[in-house]
Symmetry: C2
Subunit: 206 residues, 2 copies
Amino acid sequence: MGNMKDTIRSIAIELFFRKGYFATSISEIAKGSGIQKASIYYHYKSKEELLFSILKATMDDLTHDLKENLAGIEDIESKIRAAVHGHVRFHLERQKENFIANSELRGLTAEHYRVIVEKRDEYEEIFQGLIRQGREQGVFADVDVKILSYAILTLCTAGASWFNPGGRLTVDEIADIYENFIVSGLKQGDAPGMARARHADQVLAR
Amino acid sequence: MGNMKDTIRSIAIELFFRKGYFATSISEIAKGSGIQKASIYYHYKSKEELLFSILKATMDDLTHDLKENLAGIEDIESKIRAAVHGHVRFHLERQKENFIANSELRGLTAEHYRVIVEKRDEYEEIFQGLIRQGREQGVFADVDVKILSYAILTLCTAGASWFNPGGRLTVDEIADIYENFIVSGLKQGDAPGMARARHADQVLAR
DNA sequence: GTCTATAGAGTGATAGAC
DNA sequence: GTCTATCACTCTATAGAC
């Protein structure tokens, strides 16, 4: 946190998280950074660029993290577990940036919006690929890949909105709870109705 | 949509959903309603009061809906299914209001914020009670009630952010997918820390 | 790299005519 | 119940001194 550019950045993250992007003014960020508001524009050419730089770095780190977590794992269930665990971990450990990344996309210009959404889509596709593979290998039930990938990602992401760093459970304990819940949901062993019918089909086909 | 008060309200819902509360101005709402901005203040005494009236009605209807959906059902699994199904249905059918109710709480005054959070807590407690009951009756596994209730609610709520009314699946089809995923997750969820051990056991037993 | 000063536009809200 | 006019303020961003 040596230079002013990073100080401004971390004050902005704090304020965008607490008050929201539109409700935060440049002068508040300047005040928190201990400089005059005009000086902000030496480091960032606009408020929107400051937001974009935060979102871009967060998305890049997220995808990089996922690829690293999956490297070397062969078994599909272990892969899903590693992906979910890492996703939860990342969102709880960098709670504020991730909260902003999921709620302030509307603050971006059209071009910047496109860049971030592309990165998000790339990340989602890796996840969807894992679910699809697990389904094809018969490890998971015949689930709807798109709907459940959205569900799983937002489920874990949501942790960033209520997580209390000093609370009852550690990051890894929470990640384990999610991991088990999600893998059970994907396997759908006990679900009656349509799910049970699908499950029976699979068993018979083995 | 006969009177102006309701017109203003529905234009505000549309704009708050699309652009966000802080990024929407009174004059935009007036323009959309076909009147001058000063006329807004005849119907609502401030922008914040307009937001509050939207959130309050949404939360009241949500809880009312849940109580109605649960009435007369005895079996705990059927109760959870009805609660989840109704929750998803409500959020998809009133997508915009619900999106606002989950992202614009920071726009409220301290007192109004308290009112809405109280209503949200009341709703959450009903849900938590159902999960707790299911666990005590042995229908569900020994899950963490608080964490999973947040997880389940945000999971279903998130539907309101990506749902496309004219899309591939109907509201009830999506609700069914969620229902099965959640009930499966609740039945087979393990205690924290057991994920790796359990998975290893499974692999060895093959 | 940070400052003071200010441009230029938009904001929520009110007063008072009709 | 809607209008015009306006107040008082805040906002992002820039110019130019140091």
